[in-house]
């Protein structure tokens, strides 16, 4: 049902458009995590001497790498994909060619993933240059960003499949994305919190991502690592299939 060659053609369309504004796209995706790092990190370090045996900036750094990926993929598959699907009729015109709708959706998610990987590479390179992170396993961060981008791209695509208008995304960001950002262990350790809070955090895919990013950023294995990978891959599959269903229901009568 899905042919990778056709997915690649949709991906390529998005890449062609991106080459027109690529420079501007980095301002938000790379600038935002750095703001958190410098302002929040610097401010908090006056209060917090050490978290888990390291500086506060070093503690939040791994999560900020994937924050860039998460937001990139999410913006791409909400506002941008929704605009292409509704206002611009781009999806409709692509499915008038041999490309299927599932391939259009996959192409958009793959593009969102690509953006997420690029941002993760840039942010981790910067953090390494700053000397905040130095483990050789940092090399594998793009692979993790791949999982992260695909997961949040698919999740955002589900939101796009459900959205009636742009207002829907305001709710999506406030109720889903922001809690994911704030409550996934990026800014404070989840260990030692009460049972329901840990259970809630564990249900958020970003929590798995942040835990995996610490493994790669510090070069320190975590017993949950492989479980997190499996959970992420399964979530991507489920969310992707769900998003295709939702969008097919909308576009094909």
């Amino acid at each position: 049902m899905i042919d990778a060659r056709y997915v690649a053609r949709v991906w390529r369309r998005n890449a062609v458009v991106w080459t027109k504004y690529w420079l501007g796209s980095f301002v938000g995706t790379v600038g935002e995590p750095l703001l958190y790092l410098f302002l929040l990190g610097y401010g908090m370090e006056r209060l917090i001497k050490e978290v888990e045996g390291m500086s506060y900036s070093r503690f939040i750094a791994p999560g900020l790498i994937l924050t860039a990926s998460m937001y990139d993929a999410t913006f791409e598959c909400t506002y941008a994909s929704f605009t292409r699907m509704t206002k611009q009729n781009t999806y409709r015109s692509i499915i008038s060619t041999p490309v299927n709708l599932s391939e259009v959706v996959a192409g958009d998610i793959l593009w969102a993933t690509t953006r997420g990987v690029i941002s993760a590479v840039l942010v981790s390179a910067l953090l390494a240059l700053l000397g905040l992170l130095d483990s050789p396993t940092l090399i594998f961060m793009p692979l993790l960003a791949l999982l992260c981008g695909a997961l949040f791209g698919s999740l955002a695509m589900v939101a796009t499949g459900l959205a009636r208008d742009y207002d829907f995304f305001t709710y999506f960001f406030t109720l889903v994305v922001s809690p994911m950002f704030l409550f996934s262990g990026i800014f404070f350790p989840l260990e030692g919190m009460s049972g329901w809070a840990v259970a809630l955090a564990e249900s958020l895919p970003m929590t798995w991502m942040v835990r995996m990013s610490r493994v790669l950023a510090y070069g320190r294995m975590d017993p949950a690592f492989f479980g997190d990978i499996v959970k992420s891959i399964l979530s991507i599959l489920v969310l992707f299939i769900l998003s295709v269903r939702l969008i097919e229901r909308r576009l094909i009568r």
Binding site: T90, S93, T97, N100, I252, R253
Partner: protein
């Protein structure tokens, strides 16, 4: 003209109107079969229980131009959308080039060109990029797609605007680009949904001339329109549909002859009862607002003589497809 051809062996597509003569007890079927390039059979589609297309059937021969005419809401766009997978029909089937829409959609889309009713150019791309990227969707490699794009930009007279962004284009330019884009895969079948709606006369004439050129090159075309002059000029055959059903189907000439006759006489704001003598003489009359239309057929000279004696304001003109359309669909507004 329809092309008939003698087929030995089972004809590739079987339809009710195939005049195939089967020799009983023999494996060989000998018949005179029309091989349609596109065949729609019993197509039906409802939206939330409201029927939009009801049991529509028609065929289009290779290289033929076929028109679907009908008022707004007749089901033209729904029919067309069924042919490339945008709408899934509830019943019936459609074959294009011998391929079933339900199972061979990808191959069908590869050989068809589609000009949709509403604009769906890619606004993030320039004119030429729209052609390149669209060509890539078909898997045409870069060198070839650029060569074709250059040719098509000349064909639709956009070569001077190739670097423009889509939002900067006029309505006529956008429609020409849509047509150019639909030709990038060198389609065997071109499907056009209201290709000239909303265009100014110059733009319409340019579009018509390009469609005639494609027709000469042997492209099979299916087009919808509610401009009767357009249908009369471009279509080899056409169907008038209303409420999801086909009302009549034939060549434009035959439809005019059959339903109206050669000429129409219009009485302008006639006094009450002015048309009665004619209808009593068996002449078909239609009254609408302040005009009475007479379809006098072979009694035309007679009718004109009588009218000039009465002093009623009238005009006589050749019948056209619009007369047929309004007679069949009625003159009431459709919104």
């Amino acid at each position: 003209m329809r092309k008939f051809r003698v087929v030995l062996g089972p004809s590739p597509v079987h339809f009710p109107d195939d005049t195939a003569l089967r020799v009983r007890g023999s494996k060989v079927t000998v018949g005179v079969a029309m091989e349609p390039y596109l065949a729609v059979d019993g197509l039906s589609k409802s939206y939330d229980g409201v029927p939009a297309v009801r049991g529509l059937s028609f065929t289009i021969s290779p290289a033929e131009t076929y028109g679907l005419l009908g008022p707004n809401g007749a089901g033209k766009s729904t029919t067309i959308s069924c042919l490339y997978g945008l709408v899934r029909p509830d019943a019936g089937r459609a074959l294009i080039g011998g391929l079933d829409v339900r199972t061979e959609l990808r191959r069908i889309k590869a050989l068809a060109g589609i000009v949709p009713q509403d604009d769906c150019l890619d606004p993030d791309l320039s004119v030429e990029e729209n052609l390149w990227v669209y060509g890539h969707y078909f898997g045409i490699e870069s060198g070839e797609v650029r060569r074709r794009a250059d040719e098509l930009l000349r064909f639709v007279e956009l070569a001077d605007h190739r670097k423009k962004k889509v939002p900067e284009l006029s309505g006529g330019m956008r429609r020409r680009l849509l047509i150019g884009r639909a030709l990038i895969n060198q389609p065997k079948l071109l499907i056009l949904d209201e290709p000239t709606t909303g265009l100014d006369p110059q733009a319409r004439h340019l579009v018509w001339s390009r469609l005639r050129e494609l027709k000469r090159r042997g492209v099979t075309m299916l087009l919808t329109t509610h401009y009767m002059d357009e249908a009369q000029m471009l279509c080899d055959r056409l169907a008038i549909m209303d409420h999801g059903r086909m009302s009549v189907e034939s060549t434009p000439r035959e439809l005019i002859d059959r339903h109206v006759g050669a000429s129409v006489v219009e009485l302008h704001a006639p006094p009450p009862g002015a048309a009665r003598p004619f209808s009593e003489a068996g002449i078909e009359t239609h009254e609408f607002e302040d005009i009475v239309y007479l379809f006098p057929r072979d009694q035309t000279p007679d009718v004109l003589r009588k009218l000039s004696e009465t002093g009623v304001a009238f005009a006589s003109r050749p019948a056209n497809l619009e007369d047929v359309f309004l007679k069949i669909v009625g003159r009431g507004l459709r919104d």
